[in-house]
Amino acid sequence: MTFINYASREINCKIVYYGPGLCGKTTNLQYIYDSTATQAKGKLISLATETDRTLFFDFMPLELGTVRGFKTRFHLYTVPGQVFYEASRKLILKGVDGVVFVADSQEERMDANIESLYNLEENLQAYGYDLMKLPYVLQLNKRDLPNVIPSPDLTSELQRKGEPVVEAVASTGAGVFDTLKAVAKQVLTELRKS
């Protein structure tokens, strides 16, 4: 849920990057962290295992300008993608304002994408959220790899409600900011409505 602090004139929103293991959620956040000005971002906290797999979450606060005199701060989170960390993954979705689903475009990861998407819908429902009403963006990541499924096929399989679809190569930064902008825009539109 968006947190509005009238005293300090700040709006805090929570965006969660969701997706199967090794799809590039942390890479998205890392690229955003590396390419933003120091004054606009806080510390990137990455709680990972010794093999650099996300154990609990990655977190970074990011300031994205002002809306009607209120400073907007986005809290970006990633979830652990491995199926095993289900309990932790669910916790991180609590109070979410917008979701980015990072899909792995490789053919052999299609089943993992579908499983993760179902898991997202289930976990959102557990908190009383409906994916159909939540600000949501689908990112098709790893487009630079040779064994990828064509975008239209991947989109028809994974798109849920006509949400924006962004092709990306998170390791080089292609599409990373487009994804962030697309979800931030929807979150702010929702905020204006309320």
Binding site: L47, E50, R53, F84, Y85, A87, S88
Partner: protein
């Protein structure tokens, strides 16, 4: 009592745990230790060696023993002080046992796995 590795994999379970979902507990404990470890680093500490959470009836005490986490779930028949004392008293024994296990695993790997490795070479 549950023994968990720092990545959240359950190693051993002992005692009356009823229908407690120890797999979820293990992954959440690892997440919790990782999160408090993050807090420790923010204030200049390496990590917090023990964590405890007290509920109305059930409580949890977590000790970090190298790469392994010892989780004790206890109810109002015991107290945090008693659990801390019991864990502290047995800590060296547990660490020794874990070190012994690691040695045995290394030995098993080198002795018993060698023929398997050869077959698959």
């Amino acid at each position: 009592m549950v023994l968990v590795d720092k990545d959240g994999q359950q190693i051993a379970v002992h005692g009356e745990l009823g229908d407690l979902d120890t797999t979820s507990l293990a992954s959440l404990v690892a997440g919790n230790v990782a999160a408090t470890g993050g807090m420790a680093k923010l204030i200049g500490e390496d990590e917090f060696p023990t964590l405890s959470h007290e509920g109305a009836k059930e409580s949890i005490h977590i000790s970090v023993i190298g790469r392994v986490l010892l989780v004790v779930v206890f109810d109002d028949r015991s107290s945090l002080g008693l659990v801390k004392l019991a864990v502290q008293t047995n800590l060296s024994g547990i660490s020794q046992c874990l070190r012994g296990n690691r040695k045995r695993i290394r030995h098993t790997r080198s002795e018993e796995c060698a023929p398997i490795c050869r077959d698959y070479r």
